[in-house]
Symmetry: C2
Subunit: 97 residues, 2 copies
């Protein structure tokens, strides 16, 4: 039972990458419509702008009863070909009311 | 006197555009070092990622005693050549403790 709870929590994180914006929006709307109440959108670097688009489109077009419960920005260390570098990240947490 | 207060408040908003990231960081650090306690960084569209970089570099490298007092994301309507369109925006407010 505990394992199931942890597995569900993992599912509520959406990592923003190179797919089209609407793919992520639809994934989030689908999750909200299947009894998930809280979703965190995470992005790094240039994908941060896309994460904000995804959150705003989800909220304004599909989930008017969703609210932002937390928006966090921070710096992460990433291992690249040329050693360690810093990259900014954002976490936008949305809650269905 | 009232006019002066309003003028100062206006100065505390930094709009992120096409200049290099470090130009904005230095503008913010300069303001913080000249008795400004609160600065809001505003950006739209693809400049949102740069705004997060600017805030994080300012905080981590130059102003370790600054905190984020508010991070807001929203959608703005913009008049373009092909009519009105929506664009996401971010406002990051930093306070010197």
């Amino acid at each position: 039972m505990l394992l199931k709870v942890i597995a569900m929590a993992e599912e509520n994180i959406v990592y923003v990458g190179k797919k089209p914006t609407m793919n992520y929006v639809l994934a989030i709307v689908t999750q909200f419509n299947s009894n998930v109440d809280k979703i965190t959108i995470k992005a790094r670097g240039k994908a941060i702008s896309k994460a904000v688009d995804i959150a705003e489109i989800t909220k304004n077009r599909f989930m008017p009863n969703a609210k932002y419960s937390n928006i966090k920005i921070e710096t992460e260390k990433v291992e690249g070909e040329r050693g360690e570098s810093n990259v900014s990240s954002i976490e936008i947490t949305m809650k269905k009311e």
